[in-house]
Amino acid sequence: MGIAFSQYFRLLKHEMTLEFKNRQALTSLLVYSLATIFISYLSYRQKLDPVSWNALFWIIMLFAATNAIARSFLQESRGLQLYHYTLLEPSLVILAKTSYNIILLAFLGFSNLFVFSVFFELPVQDFLQFLIGLLLGSFGLSAVLTLVSGLVSRAQSTAALVAILGFPLLFPLLITIIKFSYNAIEGNSWAVNQPNLVLLIALNSIIVALSYLLFPYLWRE
């Protein structure tokens, strides 16, 4: 158990070091979301009502997430994957990658929120609730897309397949998260939002459990 933990943290650290060494990738992600938000601002040119604000925000998050996570397995060289393969438990690899992507996506989400609030007036009334929704949403998006990215890297296919395979799987999660954050925007109380919160947590745990169980089958060549 102790070894597993230290391996897990080492993998997580490894991912972060890689990201930090290659800052270009992170910058390109930030510029990508910035450009998307700016395009939507130019196309709307007016104050958004809460429904559209919410939908637009999550759609941009979805595309940013796909872009960010699609490369998580694809960027690795075959040699490195073989090296990991000989040394590590596959379930640890997927957990470490998922956790790293959650951190990355939460960071992207916060920066998106900031840029969004600059261009579009912030309609959020219950800010804490919205942030929790943002974290839970990043969690689910990363977990699904990381597994799909692993799958696609095994299929030796392009990143476009990540979107094709990932989007239908994300429908239930996205619908719930949009409902949840809409309640937060409207400033509804926790009691109103509780079923959505429970469903989100349940969905996230199901997704993580499934990728923990299924990833080892993808891993062996």
């Binding site: 799958l151 299929a155 296919s157 395979l165 989007f167 799987l169 239930p172 959505n196 499934l210 089958y217």
Partner: protein
Amino acid sequence: MGFLGEVPRMPILNETIRNLYFHVTMWMAMLVLMLYNAFYGILYLNKSNLYYDLVAEESGRMAMVFGAAGLITGMIWANYTWGAPWVNDPQLNGTAASLLIYAAYFILRNAVQDETKRARLAAVYGIFAFVMMIVFIMVLPKMADSLHPGKGGNPGFNKYDLDANMRMVFYPAVIGWTLLGAWLTSLRIRIRLIENKNNEQ
């Protein structure tokens, strides 16, 4: 019996209630076939026998056929009772999404050349897709208002309007459509096995 049998005369529904024998029952056949798809996916991951993958693929294909048929009959029904073929109903959206998921499943299958790898990747995706689909068409509609019976304050069918006469057709129809699906799937599987044999020679 399905077309001529005595059915309760309900306002709005009227004779369209006979669609229950087609729409609902095809849906159930689709669910059984999708369950097959996921189940044989798990079997394949454990045993690595390509036959299991063949069963999984063909049941997935037949599930899509039944899903599309159920969707079309449902849309015809909705056109007469709810006034439009497509209303913003969580169950409708859910089934459209699950058909998309299975379309993606076949795209994945076509993207991979190697047989065993294709089988493994498809099995993993199929299991994941099945769980998500169950969440989508079983859990989410219960949480939102739906026009379907038994949800969002609408009374369920079995409470009063599924009378004894209708049950006499409904239950055999469920079994019949499911068996028809299983039979068609088994035909496809046998054709594929013969094709494989011919290719080897």
